[in-house]
C-alpha cells in the first residue's frame, strides 16, 4: 500500500535500546533535526515501567506538511543493542537502512540493509559509556541524510548541552564511520522556511492551563499524568504558579478544592488509579460548587495495568465520576493544539459554572510529540461571575443555578459545605429546601448545554465529497485516524466530539443513517456505546485496540477500508 499518496516526503526514523541509554532523547534530537529542515514531525516513545534495562524505542515520522502519527515502518533505524535489532528488523522498509551495534550484534547474513557501527566500543573511549550510546543515533542519522559535521556539532550542543567535550567527539567519530557506509543515502526535502515548534500533549495542557489563569497545580506522581506535573513544576517560577506534590491523591484533590475555594484557579491530575482516590472529592466539588478541573491521563487498566502505555478504557469512569447527582463537564482533546485551547476552555467553564470538570486524555497524547501551529491568544480566561450584593449568599438560588462569588470578600461570610445546605451554606435536612438546592445545582446543566451549543464542540474533517462514510473517534485516536485516512487515501468524514459530557448530540444526530465506523482504544467499545445511547448512532464496525500501543496508520487504514 502506498503510504505517501500525496508525496509528502514521508520518512521515519526509529531508535531502540535499553532504558537509560538515552533512547527517548535520541528521538527528540531527531525530531529537532527534522524541525530544523522546516518539516513536520510526530514522535512516539515506547518505554516500559523501569529505569534501567528492558527495551525502549522512539519512532519519529516526518513529512513536508501536517503529519499526525508515527509510522511503524522505518526508513532509517538504529539499534543500540542486540534485542532492538531483533525486534525492529521487521519494521524496516524494503529500501531502509538498519544500523546495528557491531559490539553486541553479529553481522546478519545476506541483509544488505544492515550496517554495523562500533557504538559501544567508541563510547568506551569516554567516561560513563553506557549513558552515551544514544548520541550515536542522531550522529548516524546526520550521516544518512548527508548533513555536514558543523550542523551535527551545533545539534549536539543545542540538544545535549551537558558533557559536550565528550559527546561531540563521540558523535563525530560515529558520524565518520557511518558516512563511510551510507553517507548521504537519503535526500530529504526541506519544508517551510520557518521552524515549527514541537511540543507534547502534556506541555500543551500545561500551557493552556497557564494561559487560562492557573495558579496552583496539585498532583501525585502516576504515569502518564506525571509529565504534566513535571512540566508545570519546572516552569512554576517563570509563570508565578505553585506546584505541590503532597502525600497522596486524596490530599491532592482536597487541597486543590481548598485552594479553589480560597480563590485560586486550581487543577489536579492523575491516571485512573489516582483518580479513583480523588473521586470522593469530585463529589465534594459537585456539592460545594467548587470550580475544579481534574486531568485524567489514561493508561491500560484495570488496576496497575500497563503503566507506560496508552488506553481509552477510562471513558465511562470519567463520565460517571463521583457519587450523587450534579453537573459535570468532560472533554478530550483531539490534537496537541487543542490540548492548549480545550484545557483553557475547560478551566473557564468550570469557573463559570462552579462545578467539577475532567480533561480526559491518554498516554499517547500526553507523551506524544508533534509539530504544532499554535494561536497562543486563542486561550479562554477563567473567571467567575461576581456579585456585589451586600447580603451575600454563597449558594444564592438564581435562574441559571450559578451563585456568583463575592466581588469583595472583605466583611462577607462565605461558607462552602459538603452537607446539603441552605443558600448561606448552613446545613439542612429539610425536604423542601433539599429539593430546591438539588434543583439549583442541576439547573446549571441546562446552562452548560446552552453555552456548549455556542462553542465548537465537534471537529469535522472532510476527506472526500461530504457524502462519504463517517469515521467517529475522539481523543488522541483522532490523530491516528487522520493519519490513517491520509495514508490510505480514504474518502471519509472524520467526526470528533471534543466534549463527551454533555455529549454534543446536536452535532452528532445528523450522522444517523450514514455509514459509520467508530475507532477507539477500548476493549468494550465504550465510545461506540455512548454514541448509541446518547446520539442514536449505530456503527457498522467498531475498530478497537487495547494492547496499550497506539494504532499504526497503515494498519488502521487497512482496518477502516475493511470495515467500509
Amino acid at each position: 500500500m502506498a503510504v505517501d499518496p500525496v508525496g509528502r516526503g514521508l520518512f521515519t526514523f526509529l531508535v531502540g535500546g535499553k532504558a537509560g541509554e538515552g533512547v527517548k532523547k535520541a528521538g527528540s534530537v531527531a525530531s529537532s533535526l527534522f524541525a530544523d529542515m522546516g518539516r513536520h514531525v510526530c514522535q512516539m516513545d515506547d518505554y516500559q515501567s523501569l529505569i534501567r534495562g528492558g527495551h525502549n524505542f522512539s519512532v519519529v515520522s516526518t513529512a513536508v506538511g501536517p503529519i499526525s502519527s508515527h509510522y511503524m515502518q522505518a526508513q532509517f533505524a538504529v539499534s543500540l543493542d542486540d534485542r532492538s535489532f531483533g525486534l525492529h528488523r521487521d519494521h524496516l522498509a524494503p529500501d531502509g537502512v538498519m544500523v546495528y551495534n557491531s559490539d553486541t550484534t553479529s553481522p546478519p547474513d545476506g541483509d544488505g540493509r544492515a550496517f554495523g557501527l562500533p557504538i559501544t566500543a567508541e563510547a568506551k573511549k569516554y567516561p560513563r559509556p553506557e549513558l552515551r550510546v544514544g548520541v550515536a543515533a542522531p550522529a548516524a542519522l546526520c550521516a544518512a541524510l548527508g548533513l555536514d559535521k558543523a550542523y551535527l556539532r551545533s545539534l549536539i550542543e543545542r540538544e545535549y548541552r551537558r558533557d559536550l567535550e565528550n559527546n561531540i567527539p563521540y558523535a563525530e567519530s560515529i558520524y565518520d564511520l557511518a558516512y563511510a557506509q551510507f553517507g548521504g543515502r537519503y535526500a530529504l526535502r526541506a519544508g517551510a522556511a520557518s521552524r515549527q515548534p514541537i511540543m507534547d500533549g502534556a506541555q500543551a495542557i500545561a500551557l493552556g492551563a497557564i494561559a487560562a489563569g492557573l495558579d496552583l497545580y496539585f498532583a501525585y506522581p502516576m504515569t502518564p499524568s506525571s509529565s504534566l506535573l513535571h512540566f508545570l513544576a519546572s516552569h512554576a517560577k517563570e509563570f508565578g504558579i505553585v506546584v505541590e506534590h503532597p502525600e497522596n491523591e486524596i490530599a491532592v484533590a482536597n487541597m486543590a478544592i481548598g485552594a479553589a475555594a480560597a480563590g485560586a484557579r486550581a487543577m489536579c491530575g492523575s491516571s485512573g488509579g489516582g483518580l479513583a482516590l480523588m473521586e470522593e472529592a469530585f463529589s465534594l466539588a459537585g456539592m460545594a460548587e467548587v470550580p475544579i478541573l481534574y486531568f485524567l491521563g489514561s493508561r491500560p487498566g484495570p488496576s496497575t495495568g500497563l503503566p507506560t502505555y496508552t488506553s481509552q478504557g477510562d471513558l465511562r469512569f470519567a463520565l460517571n465520576q463521583g457519587h450523587g447527582e450534579f453537573p459535570r463537564i468532560v472533554a478530550s482533546p483531539g490534537s496537541i493544539e487543542d490540548g492548549y485551547y480545550l484545557t483553557a476552555e475547560m478551566l473557564s467553564l468550570v469557573w463559570l459554572f462552579q462545578t467539577p470538570g475532567i480533561l480526559l486524555s491518554e498516554k499517547h497524547f500526553t507523551e506524544g510529540t508533534m509539530s504544532v501551529d499554535l494561536a497562543t491568544d486563542a486561550a479562554a480566561w477563567a473567571e467567575p461571575l461576581l456579585s456585589a450584593d451586600g447580603d451575600y449568599r454563597r449558594y444564592r438560588d438564581t435562574a441559571t443555578g450559578i451563585s456568583p462569588l463575592p466581588a469583595a470578600p472583605e466583611g462577607q461570610v462565605v461558607k462552602w459545605s459538603s452537607y446539603e445546605h441552605d443558600e448561606r451554606g448552613i446545613t439542612t435536612e429539610e425536604p423542601l429546601l433539599t429539593t430546591k438546592m438539588v434543583d439549583k445545582r442541576l439547573r446549571k446543566q441546562a446552562g452548560i448545554v446552552e453555552v456548549l451549543k455556542r462553542l465548537n464542540c465537534t471537529n469535522r474533517y472532510e476527506f472526500g465529497n461530504g457524502n462519504a462514510p463517517v469515521i467517529l473517534t475522539y481523543g488522541s485516536t483522532t490523530l491516528s485516524v487522520l493519519e490513517a485516512v491520509r495514508a490510505g487515501g480514504i474518502e471519509a468524514t472524520v467526526v470528533q466530539p471534543r466534549y463527551l459530557e454533555p455529549l454534543p448530540v446536536w452535532d452528532l444526530e445528523q450522522y444517523q443513517g450514514r455509514p459509520l465506523v467508530v475507532v477507539e482504544m477500548s476493549a468494550s467499545g465504550q465510545f461506540a456505546n455512548l454514541l448509541a445511547e446518547k446520539a442514536g448512532l449505530r456503527p457498522r464496525a467498531v475498530i478497537r485496540r487495547y494492547d496499550g500501543r497506539p494504532f499504526d496508520p497503515v494498519e488502521l487504514a487497512q482496518a477502516i477500508k475493511g470495515a467500509l
Partner: protein
Amino acid sequence: MDELATYAENTWCPGCGNFAILGALKDAIRRLEGEGIARDKLRLVTGIGQHGKIFDYVNVSGFYALHGRAVATAQGMKLADPDLRIMVFVGDGDTLGEGLEHVLFAAKRNADITVVVHDNGVYALTTGQYAPTSVRGYRGPSTPTGSVEEPLRPLPLLLQAGATFVARGFAGRREQLTDMLVQAVLHPGFSFIDVLQPCVTFNNTWQLYNGLVEPIAQPASSYDEAMALARRSDRLPIGVLYRADVQPFHQALYGDRNPVRDRLSREERLDGIARLLQVERRAPSLPSLSPRAALEMAMPAHEQAASASQ
C-alpha cells in the same frame, strides 16, 4: 446578642464537651481581633462528625469539608492565600483514623494551620463506635465484646511527625483553651491541639479527666522533655507542651508572595508562553467565542442574576 452566632439550631447533647470548644473559639476570635487578625481573614475548616457542627454555629467563613480531609482542604486554602489564618476543627476518628496521613504530613511540612482535635474517644455522630483514641476494651456497636486495640496517642505521634506547636486542652478548662487557640493561630507554622472532650452520651470522661489533668505553666524546654510530657499517662499535662520556631511551609515554598493576589496577568502569561515556544503571539484565524460570552448570548446578565425562587 452574640454576633458570632448563626441561626443554626445547636444539636449537641446538654453537657457535651463541644460547648466549651465553641465558647473558647468565639472568645479566641474576639481576642485575635485585638491582636490585629480581622475576622474576615479567619477561616474555619471542619471535618465530619459531631465536632463539625461548630462550622454551622459560628458566623465566620470557611469550608465544611469531607470526613478526614479537612486538614488537606485547609492546606490548599493556605497555599492559595497565605494571608488567611486557618483553624481546622476535626474529630479523633475523623483525623486520626480516616485522614491520619494528612495531619502527619501537615506536621512534617510545617503547614501554617491550626488543627484542633475534638478528642472524645468515640464516633459519636454514628452512634458510638470505638475510635482511634478509645481505650482497649471499649464496647460499641462495632465492638460489642470490647475493642482489642490499644489507643493511638496523638501528641507523641505529632511531635515525632514534626509539629512545631503541640498542646493538650481540656473542655473543662475553657479559659486555658481560649488562650491556647490564640497562641496556636499566632504561631507561624503547624499547630496541633488535642482537646480532651467528654461525650456525655457514649463516653463520659468528665470525672476521669477532672482527676487526671494537670496544667503546665509553660512549654517544655526541649523536644525530648516535651516528648516525655506527651507520653505521661499517670497524669495528663494540659497546656502548650512544645513550640519551635521553624519557617512555615508556604514561605519555604514560595517566599513572601501571595500566589493569587500576585498572579501574572493574562498578557504576561501569553507573552511567557510565546517566549517559551519561541513563536510570535497570534490570535486565532477564526474568532472564537469565550464560554463567558456564550453564556451572555444564551442568557443576559440581568436574567442570570434573577432569583429562581420568585
